[in-house]
Each structure stands twice: as structure tokens, then as C-alpha cells.
């Protein structure tokens, strides 16, 4: 998958002629504003999202093959997921459990459900059908409340199997110019829950907030690792526009290939502008499926309604109905951990007092990345809450995989050393990097190994006096009120101490001398 590149949030640039009034809406603070067409009339964007979430199980949905990302191609395959004749699917109980946890977290009702075959010819499924839930999904109804106070209703959240991974080979690497394709079936049969929202979303910014919150919910329930970059969360967007103030829905287009929050926001903005331009010019939008072209920053048609696939759904004869007993449902609902809203409150509570805007952002990041348990545990072991939050939102989030395994005790010990002035912030971060890499350890030992003994107050004071004495001219200017020279003295002291001095301690010493 391509990493995000370029400027975030340009909507509809050049592509949809004349209707660029909501340019950049996805990323600006005003992204909720009603989209404005080229004419005098205001338009409203209407979005419903389908989020596919890969479940964090050990095995696939219908066979005992390992569910793992990044293994050697075709090493996790068996007769069932290869669709070999005579093989029979058997449902993974834990996938059902995770689906019910998701349902509980989204306030859905668990219903008796069944599986269907969705038939199509494409080499990503060797059976030539995908097993999915059709008219009887496991979870029905529900909602997700966003931190902005809005509510998005959930239509359903059903179980289905993922497809294999095709790579198109050819000179250009593009689908249409490919000479042939290569297929890896490790992902074929991996359990998915598809979460379908009502068309309750009104802007690209809200769509991004919805996916961000949903992702955090999925991580909190233990159902997903939430890694969009690895494809464990994939989004399709149904987008339409209508005149502001009207209630009937416009004709919608389904946008596929949204692999990041950034793509999601850009695609919705582009599509909004395109549809407004079309409606103002011709009065008609064709219902079709469109593909988001990330590098081109536009959506392109995949197929029109006329050539829409006819999947010939029919009941999967090899699977019996799924009717989870009430006791199991209750157990699944009971094992849903703290949800993101409660997790955010818990972190804010640790800080004590009203959080700053920065801290609100840090809390969001820490909860979204699933690092809050670690912060809470570290604080319980004596770490200062604000420092733990900052380090988690920055240093830990930057190396998430390793950080999730970090021992909270070591983390707490390190932060306590830093707070007590035994280590500077720079030294503390260097030690933290080693702790993260090793999953924990003895911060004092690592600091000693690195030669990070903090300067005692008296030796720091001596060095500062020395530096002041060696630079009388600068010192006179500093005394006269030229505050920016504090940076000069700090740099000199740092050089003299080989970086062992703490910036804050130097500043304090300089202030003391100036008095």
C-alpha cells in the first residue's frame, strides 16, 4: 500500500470543474460545513460507510489454517480455503465470539443467523464464491456515538470470509496492462466482520471521525489490531449529495479502494464536488461503483449499475444455522473491555483538572493506538501522569508494535527518574528507545551503561558559572534583558557537559544567577 504523500485534504482539484467550494473540507476545522455548489444553492453530502474488519483470531473462519499477516505466500492453506473438492467448512467459535463483542460494543441485537454463497468468477476466491451472511446477519441495528456528539446508526455487522490477494504482473503494474496475475491464498478465508452504517454521515471530516472511533472500538473489544496500513480495516463509502434542507436521498456512488483515513476524506470531498457539478450541469448522477485513484486524486468508474454483479446468493448448504445461546451472548458482551469513550475519560481523570488542547489530542492518540492500559498501569506504579501521556502519545505511538509489549513497570521507573531530574528529557528518550526495543528492562542500568549520570546540582552550577565567566559580553547582554541569549548559554553548558545537563535545570540556574 502506498504511504500518504503530498498535501493532505485537497478536494476535487481540477477534476470536477466548477464545484470546488468545499475544497479541503476533510481536514479543516470547518469540514462539517454544508458543501457549496457553483450556483447559489447549498448542497449536503450524505455518506454511509461499509467497514471491513479482519478479526484477530488464531485461525481462519472455516478452517484451521493460521490467520497471519505477512507470512510466505500460500503457506497457510488447506483443502477448505483452497476450495478443493470434498472439503467442508466448519465455523470458528472465536470468530463468532468476536463478532458478538463487536455487536455488543455497537449496541446491536444478536440474531439467529445463517450463511450464503456469494458467487462470482475472480481468482481471489478459489471456490468461485465467498461465504457471507446475507439476509440473516448475526448483528442487527445499533449505533456509534462520536466524540463530537453525533450519532451514526449501524444497519448490521455480519460475518464473512476474506479473499486471497492478487498481484497484477506486467510492465506498468497496472491492472489493465497486466500480462498475468499471481495469487496468494493466505488471506482467503480469514474472518471479517463487515459493519454497515446508515447514511448518517454528512461530511468527509465526520466520516474520518467515525472510522477513527470505530477503529478504536474494534481495538478495545480485542476484535481487531486496527492496522489500516496492513489492510486489517478497509472502507467502502457510499456517497450522494442532495439540496440542503431536503430529505430524499440522491443517487449514490460506491467508492472502493479507501486504504487510509486520508484517502477516505479526499475521496468523499472529490466525489461530493463531482456529483454537485454533474447535478448542476445535467441534473443526473448515474449510480455506479467507482475506484479511488490515490495518485490521481480522483474517482474513476469501475462499472455501472447495468453491469452490476449478479451474485446469485443462495444458502450455504454446508453450514448449519448459527443460534448463539443467551448465555454465550452474555459472556461475549461481558468480555467487551472498556470502550474508547470510557478510556478517554479514565486518562483525563489521571491528569486531574481540565486537560489542555494538547492533552486532549494526546489522550485521543493513546486510546486510538490502544496504549492507554500501559499508561494507566505505569501511573499506578508511580509514573507522573502527564509525562506518561506525552511519552505514550509520541515515543510509544511511533513504535507501536514494540511499545504495546513494553513492561509498564520499567516505563514507570524511567519516567520517575526523569521527573526527579536524574535524567534529562533527551537521555530519558534514549533509554526509552532501548526499553521499547527490549520490551522492558532496568532503566537505571541502561542509563548507567550509556554514561547518563545526571549532573548534580552543584556541578551543574559550577559549569554554568564557568560558561558565564568565559562569555562576559553575552552575559552582560543577557543581564540587560536579551532573553534569547539563554539559548546560547544552554548550548554552551550542553557542550561543556557532553549533553548530560538538563535544559530545564540550566534555565533555572541562569535565572537564579540573573537575580
Amino acid at each position: 500500500m502506498r504511504p500518504p504523500a503530498g498535501i493532505d485534504g485537497g478536494a476535487g482539484d481540477g477534476g470536477a470543474g466548477g464545484a470546488g467550494g468545499n475544497r479541503g473540507a476533510g481536514d479543516s476545522a470547518t469540514g462539517d460545513a454544508v458543501a457549496r455548489g457553483s450556483g447559489a444553492t447549498d448542497w449536503e453530502t450524505v455518506v454511509g460507510l461499509e467497514v471491513h474488519c479482519e478479526l484477530k483470531t488464531q485461525t481462519k473462519l472455516f478452517c484451521c489454517c493460521k490467520n497471519a499477516f505477512g507470512d510466505e505466500p500460500n503457506t497457510n492453506v488447506c483443502p477448505v480455503c483452497l476450495g478443493l473438492p470434498g472439503s467442508l467448512p466448519v465455523l470458528n467459535a472465536f470468530a463468532v465470539e468476536l463478532a458478538m463483542r463487536i455487536g455488543a460494543a455497537l449496541h446491536c441485537e444478536v440474531r439467529p443467523s445463517s450463511f450464503h454463497r456469494k458467487n462470482y468468477f475472480y481468482p481471489d476466491m478459489p471456490k468461485d464464491y465467498q461465504i457471507s451472511q446475507y439476509d440473516e446477519p448475526i448483528n442487527v441495528g445499533g449505533w456509534l456515538d462520536l466524540p463530537d456528539g453525533s450519532r451514526v446508526r449501524i444497519v448490521r455487522a455480519h460475518l464473512e470470509e476474506d479473499t486471497g490477494k492478487t498481484t497484477h504482473q506486467g510492465e506498468s503494474g497496472r491492472i489493465h496492462a497486466a500480462d498475468y496475475a499471481l495469487v496468494d491464498y493466505n488471506r482467503a478465508g480469514v474472518p471479517l466482520v463487515e459493519i454497515v452504517s446508515e447514511p448518517d454521515i454528512r461530511s468527509s471530516a465526520q466520516a474520518r471521525r467515525y472510522v477513527t472511533e470505530l477503529r478504536a472500538v474494534l481495538v478495545a473489544t480485542g476484535a481487531s489490531d486496527g492496522r489500516m496500513e496492513e489492510g486489517s480495516l478497509r472502507v467502502d463509502a457510499n456517497v450522494s449529495v442532495r439540496r440542503a434542507g431536503t430529505t430524499a436521498y440522491g443517487t449514490r456512488c460506491e467508492i472502493k479502494n479507501l486504504n487510509s483515513l486520508r484517502s477516505l476524506g479526499r475521496a468523499i470531498d472529490y466525489e461530493t464536488a463531482r456529483q454537485i457539478a454533474l447535478l448542476e450541469a445535467t441534473g443526473v448522477v448515474d449510480q455506479e461503483t467507482r475506484h479511488w485513484d490515490e495518485s490521481g486524486g480522483r474517482t474513476i468508474p469501475l462499472r455501472s449499475k447495468e453491469e452490476a454483479f449478479d451474485y446469485r446468493y443462495f444458502p450455504e448448504p454446508d453450514l448449519v444455522p448459527l443460534v448463539p445461546e443467551a448465555e454465550w451472548q452474555a459472556r461475549a458482551a461481558g468480555s467487551v473491555g472498556l470502550l474508547p469513550s470510557a478510556r478517554r475519560q479514565r486518562l483525563v481523570g489521571l491528569i486531574g483538572g481540565a486537560p489542555s488542547a494538547h492533552q486532549v489530542d494526546q489522550v485521543d492518540v493513546v486510546v486510538a493506538q490502544g496504549l492507554d492500559d500501559l499508561v494507566v498501569a505505569a501511573v499506578a506504579q508511580g509514573a507522573p501522569a502527564e509525562l506518561a501521556l506525552v511519552r505514550a502519545a509520541n515515543e510509544l505511538a511511533a513504535d507501536l508494535d514494540a511499545a504495546l509489549a513494553l513492561d509498564p513497570g520499567s516505563f514507570a521507573q524511567l519516567l520517575t527518574m526523569e521527573a526527579q531530574g536524574a535524567l534529562t528529557a533527551t537521555q530519558s528518550k534514549a533509554v526509552l528507545a532501548e526499553l521499547i526495543a527490549a520490551g522492558g528492562g532496568d532503566p537505571a542500568g541502561i542509563a548507567a551503561e550509556k554514561g547518563f549520570e545526571a549532573l548534580s546540582q552543584s556541578s551543574l552550577a559550577a559549569v554554568v558559572r564557568e560558561v558565564v565567566g568565559a562569555n562576559p559580553e553575552e552575559w552582560a547582554r543577557f543581564l540587560a534583558g536579551e532573553d534569547k541569549l539563554a539559548g546560547f548559554f544552554t548550548g554552551q553548558v550542553m557542550r561543556a557537559t557532553g549533553g548530560k545537563a538538563d535544559g530545564k535545570a540550566i534555565a533555572a540556574e541562569l535565572r537564579r544567577l540573573r537575580r
Binding site: T57, Q58, T59, C63, C64, C65, K66, E72, P73, N74, T75, N76, V77, C78, L82, V90, L91, N92, A93, A95, V96, S114, N119, Y120, F121, Y122, P123, D124, E136, T163, T166, T167, H168, Q169, G170, I175, H176, A178, D179, Y180, A181, L182, V183, D184, Y185, K256, H291, L302, R303, F309, Y311, R312, P315, P317, L319, V320, P321, L322, V323, E325
Partner: protein, 102 residues
């Protein structure tokens, strides 16, 4: 209950196209006739009073057939790929694909 539309030649041609079957005119004729009779037979149920019978998702009186989430080794990759018409770099090699995954 309203009378279902009788199965016609166009329906058979549509289904054949979905199943990637190419049928001659004569075959189309023959299968339309045969399939129409099969569908008619299923239509006999319309004559019955099924008001009190709940819809059946599966003929077996069995529910919740589940297995624990425990991995087991699958098939050997070389063996699997040897059975395929063609392979490359540990993957199945398939003809050029027109269009995208549904």
C-alpha cells in the same frame, strides 16, 4: 400469493452467462423447457397452506456446529502449487484479469 413469472429463454441465457456457459440456440431451447418444468414443480408449494410453517434455513435439525480457534498445519506449498496449472514465486499464476475484484 401472486403468480410468479414463468421462466423464459432470457432468464436461461442470463443464468448461463453468469455461470460462464455458452449454449447453442438448440440447447437454450431445450434447457428453457426443462428448467421451466423444474421451476414449475417448485411452484407447487404455492398451492399449499404454509402460513404456520416457519421458513427453513437448513433441512437438518442441527445448529451451531463450531470448532475451537486452534491452528493446525495445512498443506505443503510445493505440493499445492504442483497441482496448479502454473505458478511463480510461491503464488498461483493466473491469466490476465480484466476488471477488478467484485
Amino acid at each position: 400469493m401472486s403468480e410468479p413469472k414463468p421462466l423464459g429463454r432470457d432468464d436461461v441465457a442470463h443464468v448461463a452467462r453468469l455461470a460462464r456457459l455458452s449454449l447453442s440456440e438448440a440447447e437454450l431451447e431445450m434447457f428453457t423447457d426443462q428448467l421451466a418444468r423444474v421451476v414449475d414443480h417448485a411452484g407447487d408449494i404455492a398451492a399449499l397452506d404454509v402460513e404456520s410453517v416457519p421458513p427453513t434455513a437448513h433441512p437438518l435439525p442441527v445448529r451451531n456446529v463450531l470448532r475451537p480457534d486452534e491452528p493446525r498445519p495445512g498443506l505443503d506449498r510445493d505440493e499445492v502449487l504442483a497441482a496448479a496449472p502454473d505458478s511463480e514465486a510461491g503464488r498461483f499464476k493466473v491469466p490476465r484479469i480484466v476488471g477488478e475484484a467484485p
